[in-house]
Amino acid sequence: MSADTSPAIQLRGASKIFKTPSGGLHTAVRELDLTVGRGEFVAVVGPTGCGKSTTLTLVSGLEEPTEGDVLVAGEPVNGVGDKVGFVFQQDATFPWRTVLSNVMAGPRFRGVPKAEAKEKAREWLARVGLSAFEDRYPHQLSGGQRKRVALAATFVNDPEILLMDEPFSALDVQTRALMSDELLELWAGTGASVVFVTHDLEESIALADKVVVMTAGPATVKQVFDIDLPRPRKVESVRLEPRFIEIYREIWESLGEEVRITRERGAANVA
């Protein structure tokens, strides 16, 4: 019963400490508390290298927290679960598989029969507009098309929780806006909870219900802002609205300080 009412994701006092190759300890995430409701789109912004991505790997089960608890749908995370989808920053399509076979990979890994997996994969390829490319190999596609393959390959598994680690940061500005709109469209039908990590404040406001500002590393939550812009949104037009600019200014006040701290630290390290 608790599984139905509990929030989609809960991090309670989660810390992650890595051993560095030189034998030292590096704290990536420190005493992080974060709750993501069901069907909520949460964007996490923070200075580069502050530990945002580590937060995602903790939720995904790829890494275990050193301290604290990570709960998904009220259950503690124990390894990679089947509720989670993850879109990576870098290309993670399998280069030796065709587009169709890449999208089929998830269902096939999970034991779905071949014919059914193919049908589902074709359906999602149609939704991302790549039906004509199903026999191509990833190297024959553009960066934006490869990202679409990655999105289809993630959505085809019907994830309850969608983790995105700066998924569009490698794309050019126009493609990026286009992909953001597509993401909102794809997501609208699924009811999945999303954690979207980015360092781009505009992107985060345009997409999310809630923006979480992280501190300079080690990362912990500094402030949470609710975004009350109406949906459905179009990324290109929403950023021109006065309310958007107001929110932007408000959040930047909080985020800018952390960015400054990170930059000063970097300067100190160089000196």
Partner: protein
């Protein structure tokens, strides 16, 4: 004024096919020049050898000469060798090399992938593999002849030990250097450990493994030849040993030429197979 402005681009578009044609012609010309230069170089080297040998500037007994080597190959082809037909000797050597190569590759790939995936095993076995690798493995050939006799088994064994290590190290490296993102992605998509190994690690290690396959077929041939040279009843290596025993220098060279042809043919087959397997890879600028 305006007619001039208009005419300029027209002239330009008229020139474009011309330019691409002349470029194609230049490329064709260059290819011809390269081929001609290659043939000339070969003719010059062989001619010089022949002339020096005939004029006794170099000792014809020790160094032989191209015409004699060709005569020897021709005699072997038409009349057979002292130990049977030439085809049989080549087939014997090829059979031993191929068998050794296949066993060596299978063992190397399996061991490399297993150790690449299981860190504990790699840590335990690491130093021993280094020790084994540091033995010059060619010295094992006489031991194999003692163990397995004069038949093909001893040649196959020496080919296997020569092939195993380069393939093993490449497969190991390939398994270790799999893109972590791909592994993470496969795990998130729901792949079990076994599936990660079969469907992510092995495919991404194949390009590493194939690099070693090219080198290792040469090693397999070396293993078979050395084995035959030390003691055999048939094979090109035995042909070399016998030619040497009868002070037939031309015979030694002739056997070398035959081996080169065999190795090149095998290399061609391998490249063909590689092209088919790596259709997913972006075409390299070389091909």
């Amino acid at each position: 004024m305006s007619p001039e402005v208009l005419s300029t681009p027209v002239v330009d578009t008229a020139k474009t096919p011309d330019r691409s044609q002349s470029r194609a012609r230049a490329a064709r010309k260059r290819r011809i020049v390269v081929t001609v230069a290659r043939v000339l170089l070969l003719v010059a080297v062989l001619g010089l050898w022949e002339v020096l040998s005939r004029t006794k500037a170099i000792d014809p007994f020790n160094f032989s000469m191209p015409s004699k080597i060709w005569d020897q190959i021709w005699t072997w082809l038409t009349h057979g060798t002292a130990i049977g037909s030439l085809g049989e000797q080549i087939w014997y050597t090829l059979y031993e090399a191929l068998l050794g190569w296949v066993f060596g590759v299978i063992a190397g790939v399996v061991a490399g992938i297993v150790l690449g995936r299981i860190v504990f095993l790699a840590d335990v076995l690491g130093p021993y593999i280094k020790v084994l690798n540091s033995i010059p493995r060619i010295v094992l050939a006489p031991i194999f002849v003692i163990w397995f006799g004069l038949g093909p088994a001893s040649k196959v064994a020496s080919a296997v030990v020569l092939v195993f290590f380069p393939v093993f190290f490449n497969a190991f490296q390939g398994a270790r250097e799999v893109d972590r993102n791909l592994v993470a992605n496969a795990r998130i998509l729901g792949a079990s450990d076994r599936r990660v190994t079969l469907q992510v690690v092995i495919p991404s290690a194949t390009s590493w493994i194939f690099t070693s396959l090219h080198v290792s077929f040469g090693f397999a041939l070396i293993g078979a030849i050395v084995g035959e040279y030390i003691g055999a009843t048939k094979g090109v290596g035995l042909l070399i040993a016998q030619s040497q025993g009868t002070f037939n220098t031309a015979g030694v060279y002739a056997a070398m030429v035959i081996l080169a042809v065999v190795a090149l043919a095998a290399e061609g087959l391998l490249t063909f197979a590689e092209r088919r397997i790596f259709r997913w890879k972006p075409a390299s600028s070389g091909s």
